[in-house]
């Protein structure tokens, strides 16, 4: 039972109990509720749930999607322009000299100083 001070007067509780209650369940109410409940319980039976059906159907659906998927486009040979191929081969065989453009002061403007120093070292100019 509740502790000290939690118990209202018994008569007051009785009064509230009588005044704060739904109408009593009649036999026809009970039958109506029971039949509605039975119908819902029947639907709620684990065997009647939707997810086992969905789980069973999922592989079949995936297979059907796989079979019916749109066919991929056939591979077509890529035409490489002949000139491009010649240029590439030519570049490979005869690497083009990279010549840095020089500005008015005679300094290469395309390469940083370090690269310029290495270039001078290797090429001797």
């Amino acid at each position: 039972m509740a502790g000290q001070g939690t118990d209202p007067d018994g008569q007051l509780v009785r009064l509230i109990d009588e005044s704060y209650a739904p109408p009593p369940l009649t036999a026809s109410d009970r039958a109506r509720l029971r039949s509605r409940l039975d119908a819902r319980l029947e639907r709620a039976r684990p065997g009647r749930r939707w997810w086992p059906v969905a789980a069973a159907a999922l592989p079949a659906v995936l297979l059907a999607l796989f079979v019916l998927r749109p066919a991929p486009e056939p591979l077509r040979p890529v035409e490489v322009p002949t000139q491009l191929a010649v240029d590439w081969a030519s570049d490979l065989l005869y690497p083009p000299e990279i010549v840095a453009a020089e500005d008015e002061e005679g300094r290469a403007d395309a390469l940083p100083e370090e690269y310029r120093a290495i270039e001078v070292l290797l090429a001797g100019y």
Binding site: G3, P8, G10, Q11, Y20, A44
Partner: protein, 188 residues
């Protein structure tokens, strides 16, 4: 019943059947009282939903608590959820459902209105505690379990609810009869 396929499961099912038979009316009344707006159809819906939920979860019932306590925990939660959703719907739609005690009920409508107003002055937590302990006869410990609160917290709610109700309705009761509280409705 799918996962429930043994003799123990048959026993669970028969216990559930007995629960429905014996507790249907009480469950409907508890739902009605916790909803607190006099909507009998809503109380019946909540009761049905709770029973269906309990049936679905029957395989998970481990018998640590009584089946009755286990079911009422589901019912109370269902009623609380219904009340919260109703509050959200009312907030959204800008309408408020009028609280009524039900026109079909016997008794003095003015007295009923006063009692409803007094209960309406309680917070939801106070009303739930009062309903379960004083009107439905659950012990403080059981009610605390049903509501997911500590017994100490529940006692505080009960104390405040009692004080408010004494203040609101004290003139209706004769204070000579100060018998202890066990006047809750019997089950079924």
């Amino acid at each position: 019943m799918g996962r429930m396929a043994g003799a123990g499961d048959e026993e669970l099912r028969s216990r559930f059947e007995a629960l429905v038979r014996e507790q249907l009316e009480r469950a409907r009344r508890v739902a009605w009282r916790i909803l607190g707006d006099g909507d009998l159809a809503a109380a019946e819906d909540v009761t049905q939903d709770a029973l269906v939920r309990a049936y679905r979860g029957l395989a998970g019932f481990r018998g640590e608590a009584r089946m009755e306590t286990w079911f009422y925990r589901i019912l109370v939660r269902q009623a609380q959820n219904h009340r919260r959703w109703r509050a959200v719907r009312e907030l959204w739609s800008g309408t408020t459902r009028e609280v009524s005690g039900g026109d079909e009920e016997p008794g003095d409508p003015l007295l009923r209105a006063r009692v409803l107003a007094a209960l309406g002055s309680l917070s939801a937590a106070q009303r739930e505690a009062f309903v379960l302990v004083h009107l439905e006869g659950f012990s403080v410990r059981e009610a605390a379990e049903l509501l997911g609160r500590r017994p100490g917290t529940l006692k505080t709610h009960l104390k405040r609810a009692a004080a408010k109700l004494r203040g609101e309705l004290g003139d209706l009761a004769s204070w000579q009869d100060r018998e202890p509280i066990r006047t809750a409705s019997s089950s079924g």
